[in-house]
C-alpha cells in the first residue's frame, strides 16, 4: 500500500483553479520532488495535503486512512509534518521553544528528549543557539530549525516547501545533506517542492513536474536533468 495517496485532487481559490484532477501515490521511505514553474500549484498541493488549504474535491490518504477534511491539527497528529515555505519560524520564541511547540501531540516524553538530542546532533548550531530567540538566526539556520521543528512531531511523512529559497548554494547543499541523512535515520517519506530540477537530480529521487495545476511528467529526477534542456527552456525554470 502506498504511504501517501492523492486521488482526483482539486484546489480552487474562488474561481481560480490551482489544482485539478491530480492523482499520484508516494511509497514509504520515498523521496519525491515536486517541481514546476511559479503558479503550477506546488504549494497548493502541499497545503491541501497538510490540511492548511481546503480541497474542492478529491481524496488524500495516508496508510489508507483518509486525511482530507481533517484540518491541520489532526493531520499533524496522524504523523504528517510540514516545513512551510518561508520557514515560518516563531521568531520571538527561543530555538528550543520552537522545537518543543510540536511535541504537545506526543505522549512519549522519553522519546521527545531523544529526538531533541537527535535534532541537536544533526544541527549543532541549534544546540549552540538553543536559548537564543529564533528570529536572530540566519536564513540557513532558520531553515534547519524549521526542519528540526517538523521532525519533533515524530512524523512518518514530511512535506518540505522550497527549502532552498533565498539561501546560498553552499547552504542549500548542507540543508539537503542533513535532510537526506535524517530521512535515512528515521525512515521518513519525503515530499519536497524544489524549483530547480538540477538540484533535485543531484540530491536524487523521484520527480513530478507540475504545470497549470496538473502533472506533466513523473519519473527519476536524474533522467529529468539529462533530458531536460528542452522543458527547462520551455518552463523558463531557473536551474
Amino acid at each position: 500500500m502506498a504511504k501517501l495517496g492523492i486521488h482526483d485532487l482539486a484546489v480552487r481559490y474562488g474561481k481560480l483553479t490551482a489544482i485539478s484532477d491530480l492523482s499520484f501515490t508516494v511509497a514509504e521511505g520515498e523521496r519525491l520532488f515536486i517541481s514546476g514553474p511559479n503558479g503550477a500549484g506546488k504549494s497548493s498541493l502541499l497545503g491541501a495535503i497538510s490540511g492548511a488549504v481546503r480541497a474542492a474535491h478529491g481524496r488524500i490518504e495516508m496508510d489508507g486512512d483518509i486525511l482530507s477534511g481533517l484540518g491541520p491539527e489532526r493531520i499533524a497528529r496522524r504523523g504528517l509534518s510540514m516545513v512551510p515555505e518561508g520557514r515560518r519560524i516563531f521568531g520571538g520564541l527561543t530555538v528550543r521553544e520552537n522545537l518543543m511547540v510540536g511535541t504537545g501531540i506526543r505522549r512519549d516524553r522519553a522519546a521527545v528528549a531523544d529526538d531533541l538530542e537527535t535534532a541537536f546532533t544533526a544541527f549543532p548550531i541549534l544546540r549552540d543557539r538553543a536559548n537564543a530567540p529564533a528570529g536572530a538566526l540566519s536564513g540557513g539556520q532558520q531553515q534547519m530549525l524549521a526542519i528540526a521543528r517538523a521532525l519533533m512531531t515524530n512524523p512518518k511523512v514530511m512535506l518540505v516547501d522550497e527549502p532552498s529559497l533565498g539561501l546560498a548554494p553552499k547552504v542549500v547543499d548542507e540543508v539537503y545533506d542533513r535532510l537526506c541523512s535524517l530521512q535515512a535515520l528515521r525512515g521518513l517519506t519525503l515530499v519536497i517542492v524544489e524549483q530547480s530540477s538540477t538540484r533535485a537530480a543531484r540530491v536524487g529521487g523521484r520527480m513530478i513536474l507540475m504545470r497549470g495545476g496538473r502533472i506533466v511528467a513523473d519519473g527519476d529526477a536524474a533522467g529529468f536533468a539529462a533530458a531536460d534542456l528542452l522543458s527547462e527552456a520551455y518552463f523558463g525554470d531557473p536551474a
Partner: protein
C-alpha cells in the same frame, strides 16, 4: 508626599495593567479586540451579590470567607469568558476581525442589559473588607493598606503569568499561536484549546480587576466596566497591540500619568484631568503609531 504619589501611581497603574493584559492576551492569539472585557469585569463585581433591584446589596458569593471568595470570583470570571468564547466567538472564528469586534460589542451590550434586568440600574453599596482602608505608616507617608495589597497582588499576578507563559505547555502554545496561528496548528497545536485558555486567563484577570474595584469603591455599578475598559484598551494600543509587556508598561504609565496629573494640575484644571491624559496618549501615538512595543512576529530572514 512624593512617596504617597508613588504608591498611588503604582496601585492605579497596576490595575490598568491587569485590565490591559486581559485584552492583550486575547488580541494576541485571535486578533480580537474584546470590547466585552469591561462587562466581564462588571459581571464579576455583580457576582458578589444576589440579584435584586433593591438599593442595598445582599451578599451572595461575597459571604464566602476571603480566600474562597477570591477563588470563586476568579473561577466565575474564567468561566464567563470561556462560555462567551464558546457561544459567541467560536462561531465567528473565521470571520473578519471587524465582525469579531462587532460581536464583542454586541456581547458587551447584552451582558450589560442582563445586569440591568437582574440588578436594576442604581449603583449599590457593597460592604466588603472595610478594614482595608486603614492607613499604614511607611516612612513619612501614610498609605492605605488596600494600596499595598493591590501592589503586591499585581506583582504576584505578573510574575505568575510570566512564569505560566514561559514554562507551561499552554503558555508555549499561546505564544506560538500569537506569532503564527496557522503554523502552530500545522504542528498539532489545537486552536480551541489555546483560545479557550486565553479567554480563561483573560476572564480571571477581569475578576481581579473587579475585586480591586469593589474593594476600592465599595460600589457595584452596571456602568463601572466602561471606564476601565476604555483605559485598558488605550493601554493595549499605546503598548503595541498584542504585546503583553507593552500592555503592562502602558497600563503602568497611564496610571502613573493619571496620578501625577491628579496631584500636579492646578485646582481649576483638575476636573479636566482625563482630557490631559488622553492628549498625552495622542502625543505618544503621534511619535510611535505602532505602540511602545511592537508585537513579536516571525520576520523571515534571507
Amino acid at each position: 508626599m512624593s512617596l504617597q504619589l508613588l504608591f498611588d501611581a503604582l496601585s492605579l497603574g497596576g490595575i490598568y495593567a491587569i485590565a490591559a493584559l486581559g485584552i492583550a492576551l486575547i488580541f494576541g492569539v485571535m486578533k480580537l479586540v474584546n470590547f466585552a472585557h469591561g462587562q466581564f469585569i462588571a459581571c464579576a463585581v455583580f457576582a458578589l451579590i444576589l440579584p435584586s433591584t433593591d438599593a442595598v446589596a445582599a451578599l451572595g458569593l461575597g459571604l464566602l470567607p476571603t480566600p474562597l471568595l477570591i477563588l470563586a470570583i476568579l473561577g466565575f470570571g474564567a468561566g464567563l469568558a470561556m462560555a462567551a468564547e464558546a457561544l459567541v466567538f467560536r462561531p465567528l472564528r473565521n470571520a473578519s476581525p471587524v465582525a469579531l469586534m462587532v460581536g464583542s460589542f454586541a456581547l458587551g451590550v447584552a451582558l450589560q442589559n442582563l445586569l440591568l434586568v437582574l440588578y436594576g440600574g442604581r449603583p449599590k453599596a457593597i460592604s466588603l473588607w472595610a478594614g482595608l482602608g486603614a492607613p499604614v505608616q511607611i516612612g513619612p507617608a501614610e498609605v492605605p493598606l488596600l494600596q499595598l495589597i493591590v501592589i503586591a497582588a499585581v506583582i504576584a499576578i505578573l510574575l505568575a503569568l510570566g512564569l505560566m507563559l514561559k514554562r507551561s505547555r499552554l503558555g508555549l502554545e499561546m505564544r506560538a499561536a500569537a506569532e503564527d496561528f496557522g503554523m502552530a496548528q500545522l504542528l498539532g497545536v489545537r486552536a480551541n484549546h489555546v483560545i479557550s485558555g486565553a479567554f480563561a486567563l483573560s476572564g480571571a484577570l477581569a475578576a481581579v480587576v473587579a475585586l480591586v474595584m469593589v474593594a476600592q469603591t465599595g460600589v457595584a455599578d452596571v456602568r463601572m466596566g466602561g471606564q476601565i475598559m476604555l483605559i485598558a484598551f488605550i493601554a493595549t494600543v499605546v503598548g503595541g497591540m498584542g504585546s503583553l509587556p507593552g500592555a503592562v508598561a502602558a497600563g503602568l504609565a497611564i496610571g502613573a500619568a493619571s496620578a501625577l496629573l491628579q496631584a500636579g494640575l492646578p485646582d481649576a484644571a483638575r476636573p479636566f484631568r482625563d482630557a490631559f491624559l488622553y492628549a498625552l496618549v495622542i502625543f505618544v501615538l503621534l511619535f510611535r503609531p505602532q505602540g511602545l512595543f511592537a508585537a513579536a512576529g516571525a520576520k523571515p530572514r534571507v
